[in-house]
């Protein structure tokens, strides 16, 4: 399956992401999930960013937290709500919200 996963928290309580297998995996960082893209913990980038090369972070949710798109890890593509709609319809066939 082509699975797009929405991550909305910084600290994750479920280990689902470590177990699930998908032919194509996308991670869309929204709400407090954007900290995975912007914030290093003890100098180390989030291990979430190693799980796939298809990484996205929602611009509105970066900005509302006082951060800039330029604070985002180079591996992550900054998207807006319209882009998320396109990702949903064009890139993934199943969606999960963790």
């Amino acid at each position: 399956m082509k699975l797009g996963i929405f991550v909305s928290d910084f600290k994750l309580t479920a280990d689902t992401l470590d177990r699930i297998k998908a032919e194509k995996l996308g991670i869309i960082l929204v709400e407090n999930g954007v900290y995975h893209a912007t914030t290093k913990e003890n100098g180390k980038a989030s291990s979430l960013l190693d799980k796939t090369s298809n990484l996205y972070a929602l611009s509105e949710d970066i900005q509302i937290r006082g951060m800039k798109d330029s604070d985002v890890d180079k591996r992550v593509k900054v998207v807006n709500y319209g882009d998320v709609v396109d990702l949903i319809f064009n890139e993934y066939d199943k969606l999960a919200w963790l």
Binding site: E60, Y81, V84, V85
Partner: protein
């Protein structure tokens, strides 16, 4: 153009997941997609009419009305809603009231489904 059905469980006001849901629905509708929105759990509180829009709080009401005008179908879980003391006559006009099978039926004809749990 496709059909997207979103199930939203987290509640209005302060829980930004609810705001995310409405904004995503709007963006999809604006691109010409058919959007269905199912509220269950705490989200059902949001279909209560006459919400006072204070600056410090999100409001579901204005947004829900705008989405319905754009052709988005919105349905609240009747049992969850009446359990919270909200009657159909108190609800925002245009919001449908039904049982959980409404959601499953919409899923049946959908290209994409995003179930948002949480609370």
């Amino acid at each position: 153009m496709g059909t997207l059905t979103i199930g939203c469980f987290p509640g209005l006001v302060g829980n930004m997941t609810y705001d995310f849901t409405l904004k995503l629905a709007e963006a999809a509708a604006d691109k010409g997609h058919k959007v269905n929105l199912w509220f269950s759990g705490n989200a059902t509180g949001s279909i209560k009419g006459h919400q006072k829009h204070l600056k410090d709080y999100s409001t579901g009401e204005k947004y829900i009305k705008a989405l319905i005008e754009k052709g988005v179908e919105i349905c609240t879980c009747e049992a969850c809603t009446v359990a919270r003391g909200v009657q159909k006559t108190d609800g925002i006009e245009g919001v449908q009231w039904n049982a959980m099978h409404w959601y499953l039926a919409k899923i049946h004809s959908s290209d994409r489904v995003l179930q948002i749990g949480g609370e």
